[in-house]
Amino acid sequence: MASPCECLIACEDETLARELAALAESEASRIEQKFSRYRQNNIVHRINHAGTETIRVDNETADLLDFSAQCYQLSEGLFDITSGVLREVWQFDGSDHIPSAAAVNKVLKRVGWSKLQWDRPLLTLQPGMQIDLGGIGKEYAVDQVAKLLKQRASQVNVLVNFGGDLVATGPRLNAVPWTVGLDDPARTGEKTLGGVALSRGAFATSGDARRFLLKDSVRYSHILNPKTGWPVERAPRSVSVLSGTCIEAGMLATFALLQGKQARYFLEEQEVRFWMVE
């Protein structure tokens, strides 16, 4: 998952805790191996290297693609798992390397969920298109691991935290809530924006203050609008959302970033608890 992963288990039975931890680890690495675009010999690699050939996908992948399609619709095209190819022209390394409009437009032709054919379980891409489930994968893994542990030991509550996206299935022993600090992206690891006593629910944070481009005093965020191919203007540096499931919280945070300066308004509309750093 390219980030620290932890699983806190509220349980006094050490044998059971170890068993649950092992289960969490194997499920997390299963999901990573299956959906990471940095790995070969997995379904995402197969899809992205199939050219225009139609691929039949398994049920779990199909569920994630269905979910991606719904997110594309709900975000009115702003959340798009085919937008990853824009990274060919945008490298967010803190430099002033801004691509030309022509270069962006050329890549943009290969972007757009509506351009591919998805007829469950059959997926067909256009030439040069790619999918990237990185925007969903980590949150999905968090919820999936929590669900699995709950199925294995329903009386044990856990907090699953993969790189800051987390879910709690219930309070700790003696009904004590978990305390979750919200990292301040400006002073990461040193300062928090506040804390939440979480008995049940999920947190996800989107945004990354350290990934941007700077040219002529304009700060280009790494959040790209898949409709224009250009960075979203005035996107918040970071958005954290509290919701029922991690994937839901993660999507709301991502949708908010894509709204740019409308992010706060968008989050207020959703009537969720959120923390935003502009």
């Binding site: 979910f67 709900l74 669900k147 509290l242």
Partner: protein
């Protein structure tokens, strides 16, 4: 884009194939208020009623400020050290409010008093990278016959493994001591005579060094060493000491005759040290056993031992009962005398220092009590404490004292 939350939640549920999950969370408390009432009552002696208010607020992630307000009313009577009229001491007069000695019994063996105290304390704690904490505190306490101003600072550092915490602290206090009518009596002057000297002032300096270590998930141990110094007026301006003469020099049990009564006199410095060790262990049933032992010694030759046991038993529904036992025992100060015996000091002689304050006598104390607490929905906590204390003095006019402590507190956390 309007609200998408419901549709998204629905999509997430079908992806994860489980029922919608609701959120149960509250933001970590930004501030807490603790209000407490304490009633302390000694059998036929002192009664103290205390109101304590504490406000704790996190002014930032790394900074916490605590403000304490204490208001006490104290009344009753306390042994003065004198023996005069001791034989006729059968009743205690009501508080005079004047802070003088009881006139109605004609006895100087007990001193009536009535006072109020207002105390304010402010403490600021700063945490950095969750590895070290530094705090600065200051306090002011005002009574009719006593004013104190104190400052302190503590530093605690965790090792990177967080298994060991080292701490060091320093505290200073500046006190002004006087009788409620002003000034202090001339040491060893005849009671009721002598000059009234100016207010007594003293400075207290204390340092503490500690190590706390986590032994395992359930056990924590602590060792502290502290040493301190008092300099200045350490005498009690109300305490007296009587001169006595045996009725029969060959038979002390025959009794004594009271002679004159004087104001007491104590050294102007006191050097104190103590070692404190504690261990806390959480049992498999989430009960917490806390044991501590303190060894104290000073250059007045007082040596004391304190043993303390507490067992916090958890019941369902955030309900706790904590029985408490404390055993205390000390030796007498090297200038403690039951009286100035004429056989030792002659009809007019004095030792270098002399006090008949029962608190400087050899004595033992036993505290038995319990705490009951109940947490409400994570943000409120009600606590009741009841304790019975019994002291037995080796060589004082009043050889036994009993006290009852009752405290009711409510703490509330706010988001």
């Amino acid at each position: 884009m309007k609200s998408v939350k419901k549709k998204l939640a629905f999509a997430a549920c079908s992806l994860l194939s489980h029922n919608p999950q609701s959120v149960l969370a509250s933001e970590a408390e930004d501030w807490a208020v603790d209000g407490s009432f304490l009633h302390y009552e000694e059998e036929q002696r002192i009664t103290v009623n205390k109101l304590i208010g504490t406000l704790i607020t996190n002014i930032s992630e790394a900074d916490r400020v605590k403000v304490d307000l204490v208001f006490d009313t104290m009344s009753g009577s306390t042994p003065s050290g004198a023996l005069e009229g001791a034989g006729s001491f059968t009743t205690i007069t009501t508080p005079s409010g004047a802070g003088g000695f009881s006139a109605s019994t004609g006895s100087t063996a007990v001193a009536d008093f009535s006072d109020t105290r207002l105390g304010v304390g402010v403490d600021w704690e700063h945490t950095k990278k969750r590895l070290y904490r530094i705090n600065y505190g200051s306090s002011i306490s005002v009574e009719k016959d006593y004013t104190s101003f104190g400052i302190n600072s503590n530093y605690a550092q965790d090792t990177s493994s967080r298994i060991v915490t080292y701490s060091a602290g320093v505290a200073m206090a500046f006190d002004d001591v006087r009788r409620s009518t002003g000034g202090t009596p001339e040491p060893f002057a005849l009671y009721g005579a002598g000059e009234t000297l100016e207010n007594g002032t003293r400075v207290t300096l204390d340092t503490i060094f500690g190590v706390t270590r986590v032994f395992n998930r359930r056990t924590l141990g602590q060792v502290n060493f502290s040493t301190g110094l008092n300099e200045g007026y350490l005498t009690d301006p109300y305490k007296l000491i009587s001169r006595t003469q045996l009725l029969d020099a060959n038979d002390p049990s025959a009794g004594f005759d009271e002679k004159d009564t004087y104001y007491e006199s104590r050294p102007s410095s006191r050097q104190r040290s103590s070692v404190y060790t504690a261990i806390a262990h959480k049992t498999r049933h989430d009960n917490v056993l806390h044991m501590s032992y303190r060894y104290y010694w000073d250059d007045w030759d007082i040596v004391s031992n304190t043993l303390d046991f507490r067992l916090k038993i958890s019941y369902e529904n955030n309900f706790f009962i904590e029985p408490h036992l404390r055993l205390y025992q000390q030796t007498a100060a090297n200038f403690y005398y039951f009286s100035l015996e004429q056989e030792v000091f002659g009809p007019t002689g004095f030792p270098e220092f002399g006090s008949a304050d029962y608190r400087l006598d050899q004595f033992s104390g036993t505290t038995v009590g319990f705490n009951i607490s109940k947490k409400f929905s994570g943000t409120g906590k009600l606590r009741m404490r009841v304790e019975q204390i019994r002291w037995e003095y080796e060589n004082s006019l009043f050889d036994v004292n009993n006290a009852l402590v009752f405290q009711l507190s409510y703490k509330k956390l706010f988001e």
